[in-house]
């Protein structure tokens, strides 16, 4: 499923859309991959004062080049503080981090994520990197934003492994577990649409369709039923200037392809 591309690629649209969910003057915990591009773009466009935080200890950098690693020197370049993993995780657990960006191999209807294994744990079909900081972000950040490609193999009924907590199995489940109050998945962004979560059931719900995409395509590319509200918006398209900025951030296509 490909968005009708005119002046942008799918990955660029994803990065742009993710960046637009961020609010200037807030803090964001940035993980590896497309989130790096989205955060850098937000800093260079509508959210110049967004506080970017990296798990290895880089806080508030003025990012010179796209970081290849969330622990590299660009993550604390002209930063307000070069701290440690303990510091950043402690700030998150104590409530100082507003947004968290996550990716995933699999997601379910409650926004729980898998980045650990496909197949049985002890002898997996595919061994993935593991939680990394994802479980921590999913547990601590006020609002998590998930960026991933969407198809039936990724939007599943049951995860092979629950790496990172979404709403677990429904309303009240996070709180019952002792997870911090008022946390949980906020948005899911794929190449087809953006999603939020229904307040009552905590299930994934369609928010905006990307231009040219239908509700049928969204449902065809999910193994679970996605809730569809009466009113569905259309995702904003990036301008040519936005795309130029994105491409200047990642001139080699390391993350954007």
């Amino acid at each position: 499923m490909v968005v009708e591309t005119t002046h942008y690629k799918t990955s660029e649209f994803l990065a742009y859309t993710a960046a637009k969910t961020l609010v200037d003057g807030k803090s964001i915990f940035v993980g590896t991959g497309l989130p790096l591009v989205a955060a850098t773009f937000a800093q260079r466009s509508h959210a110049p004062n967004i506080l970017v935080v990296f798990e290895a200890g880089g806080i508030g950098p003025r990012i010179p080049e796209l970081p290849i690693s969330v622990g590299g020197s660009f993550t604390f370049h002209q930063g307000i503080m070069a701290a440690s993993m303990h510091d950043v995780m402690a700030f998150s657990q104590a409530g100082y981090v507003d947004f968290g960006f996550l990716g995933a191999a699999q997601i379910d209807m409650y926004g729980n994520l898998n980045t650990t294994v496909i197949g049985p744990h002890d002898l997996p079909k595919a061994r993935l990197p593991g939680s990394g900081g994802a479980n921590d972000v999913g547990s601590f950040c006020h609002q998590t934003i998930i960026m991933m490609y969407q198809d039936k193999r990724r939007f599943v009924n049951k995860l092979d492994f629950v790496t990172t907590p979404g709403y677990l199995n429904g309303p009240g489940a996070r709180e019952k577990c002792g997870l911090p109050a008022n946390t949980g998945p906020y948005r899911v962004i794929t190449q087809l649409a953006t999603y939020d979560f229904d307040e009552e059931t905590k299930r994934m719900r369609l928010l905006t369709l990307h231009p040219g995409i239908t509700v049928e395509q969204v449902q065809e590319n999910s193994s679970f039923e996605i809730l569809v509200p009466d009113k569905v918006g259309t995702t904003e398209i990036p301008t040519k200037e936005d795309i130029e900025i994105l491409r200047s951030i990642d001139p080699y296509g390391v993350a954007l392809g």
Binding site: A56, I68, G71, Q93, R127, L128, L168
Partner: protein
């Protein structure tokens, strides 16, 4: 406290606080000893088959690659590895067959470069077993508990997930709030290598920039070896005591290791050698090519200096220095062009 749930993961590196205090009393000296040695000596003396081993830095940033190569060269076996934000370091060590068990918070991945073919193959074929799962913060707090000399640290992560189920943590009812809370057990790795900017002969070490995991890890380590870009005098350390990240009495060995993080980045000194990492990623897709890589870069060179010549010598080093200082643009040969 009421135990609500227990993770089934293997508890690597466990010692009681009194066991560790006994170890410190018997093995760690507060005397000022010249601990300088070669990497060959350090690995031979301090790394034993079967050890639980951990590496400082962040996988391919400020990592002791010089130690990784030497461990492979000396044929160390059956290591249990902390896969804490490991990237290139552990990918290479697992692919070389040195590691039989791993507790990953992040391993088998090369961040933006993609997944690690070599170490994944070892896990997917059963040659290397994942014995516990954990998250980055939780693993960091395993070192924190050890550094505090207490059996565990309470935290609010892992709850509700399979990451918890496969971890060595437990969930209890917190007596203060009445809420479930995760207790993360201390971990004392047998052998730890940390790469730093500067150190004196006694082991007082300075880390510029982000310390990542190394403050707590250096305290948790049983045997700690510092590899350093440069050796400085004790007077220079004493001129700026605030810059000391790791005090000498935690340290067992000091190795002078300029460019010791190659092909990883050393913040402020040199950038990632993306050309070399691309070569590794390509070779590690295939077992025969992986062996040839080790023949060339580990077994085929007499020491780390010869390895540096092989990967491009002064010309390459100067290029990596320029890129790190933003005087030249980086290039990424592993980018897949569509």
């Amino acid at each position: 406290m009421e135990i609500l749930k227990e993770g089934k993961g293997k508890r690597l590196g466990w010692h009681t606080p009194d066991e560790h205090r006994q170890y410190v009393m018997e093995n760690k000296s507060r005397e000022l000893i010249d601990k300088r040695m070669s990497i060959q000596e350090a690995v031979a003396k301090f790394v034993n088959d079967g050890d639980f081993i951990a590496f400082g830095g962040f996988g391919h940033v400020r990592v002791s690659m010089i130690a990784i190569y030497e461990i492979i060269r000396q044929g160390k076996r059956d290591l249990k590895a902390a896969g804490k934000t490991t990237v290139h370091d552990l990918d290479v060590l697992i692919s070389a067959g040195c590691v039989t068990e791993v507790e990953p918070s992040y391993a088998f991945g090369h961040e933006l470069r993609g997944l690690s073919p070599g170490s994944r193959r070892m896990v997917e074929s059963g040659k290397c077993r994942v014995v516990a799962e954990i998250s980055n913060a939780a693993f960091q707090w395993r070192w924190l508990a050890a550094s505090l000399g207490v059996p565990f640290i309470p935290a609010r992560n892992l709850s509700g997930t399979d990451t918890f189920e496969y971890s060595s943590s437990i969930i209890v009812k917190d007596p203060f709030t009445g809420q479930p809370i995760t207790l993360i057990p201390a971990a004392y790795p047998d052998c730890v290598f940390i790469h730093v900017d500067r150190a004196d002969m006694y082991g007082n070490a300075q880390i510029d920039g982000i310390t990542i995991q190394d403050v707590e890890l250096s305290r948790a380590a049983r045997k700690l070896i510092i590899t350093t870009e440069e050796i400085i005098s004790n007077d220079e350390i004493r001129r700026e005591p605030k810059r000391t990240t790791i005090p000498y009495f935690l340290v067992d060995g000091v190795v002078e290791a300029p460019f010791g993080s190659h092909p990883g980045e050393m913040p402020g000194w040199y950038y990632f050698d993306e050309e070399h990492i691309a070569e590794w990623l390509a070779a590690s897709k295939d077992p025969a090519a992986t062996e040839k890589y080790f023949e060339k870069y580990v077994f085929g060179v007499k020491d780390f200096e010869e390895y540096l010549e092989l990967v491009g010598g002064i010309r390459k080093i100067n290029q990596l220095k320029r890129i790190e200082k933003l005087a030249e643009k980086p290039e990424y040969p592993w980018v897949k062009k569509k």
